[in-house]
């Protein structure tokens, strides 16, 4: 198919598609002549992926490019690519603020995580920020959140196990991880609203927390 049809079927304007081609987010179509290329279903799939990572995952174009290029590699190191995607590849200098706490948490849970996993930095940054904000009560429960993360990861693996073709697994890991973040965040918001509604209803006299929370 030609670019007009690709645009029509994907709902993305032609200039934008050309931009993605320039940026290397979309592989070039097969040139049949100097100004004629043909695109296929793979391009449509790729465009949808790009838009999902952009709009749902909120990743910047540059990060999407690096994630996709990792995905196109024969032996992709997905953990690293997606770890970088987590914090937009902004590396704050290694201050020992939350570093030690991440370290001990990983040890406590017996997790095996490579020392240069970008997610370590990301978690350390969040911990540091929470300390700065005097929001230590959440950090006191960090093992509880780690347990939840563990359950989520096990579910992720189960989902991943349903796929057998190697190409699909890699693709799926990306989608599952990045869109999964958005899904979990959204579900948590719904569950929070429910939880605070329950709390409000339970005791006859609403606590200050409940009144504040439940509108």
């Amino acid at each position: 198919m030609r670019i007009a049809e690709l645009s029509r079927r994907s709902g993305i304007p032609v200039p934008t598609i050309k931009y993605y081609l320039r940026e290397g987010l979309l592989p070039p179509g097969e040139l049949s002549s100097r100004n004629q290329a043909s695109y296929d279903e793979g391009h449509i799939r790729r465009l949808r992926l790009v838009r999902a990572l952009l709009e749902i995952g909120r990743l910047p174009i540059a990060t999407i490019k690096s994630v996709l290029s990792e995905l196109d590699t024969p032996e992709p190191n997905l953990h690293h690519a997606m770890g970088r995607a987590l914090r937009g590849s902004i590396a704050s200098e290694p201050g020992p603020e939350g570093d030690r706490e991440v370290e001990t948490l990983i040890e406590r849970r017996g997790w095996s995580v490579s020392p240069e996993a970008p997610a370590r930095r990301a978690v350390a940054d969040v911990i540091a920020a929470m300390h700065q904000l005097g929001w230590d009560s959440m950090l006191a429960q960090i093992d509880g959140y780690a347990e939840i993360a563990d359950r989520a990861a096990r579910l992720d693996m189960e989902v991943l196990a349903r796929h057998s073709e190697p190409d699909e697994i890699v693709y799926s890991a990306v989608v599952g991880t990045i869109l999964g973040d958005a899904l979990i965040a959204g579900l948590r918001r719904l569950a929070q609203e429910n939880a605070s509604a329950q709390m409000y209803r339970r005791d006859g006299e609403p606590t200050p927390a409940a009144t504040r929370e439940c509108r």
Copy 2:
């Protein structure tokens, strides 16, 4: 204290502080004369909060403003404010793509969630994107993720219950929700790395998934 000291103690340049004042993210200092205002500890706290929402929560300035102004309200509707924060207040038109599925999920779990909760749209959008990408295997497990979200929300409520002063509760709900998303995402990434490492180690012959996953 004057603006120079506020800048020094918060680590944020003076022009940036002036910008936040202009944008209404930071309440003005108390004017002692036409060109002399004094700032207090509350301003430092607020600046740290703004930076955390910006850098860790990745919220745009405009969204932070709306969240903060809700936070300054005597009767804040936090669910709504934070729901909007979840998707940057971008309201995609209500396509029935994932709407129905969110509806039935909420019903299945017996959650009580207000009909106009923005998180509904956010989750519906993610579901729609996953359908588009043909990534239905994760949606097949959506109840599992909802269960995880429920546990997270219960933990959130426990953390919140440790605070008693109303001001602190509101502040905490914001920090806990928005930074909590980042924390959970980061922990999930660590747990995923561990889970795929386990999967690799368990069976002598690595599955395609494991080799792909574990580098």
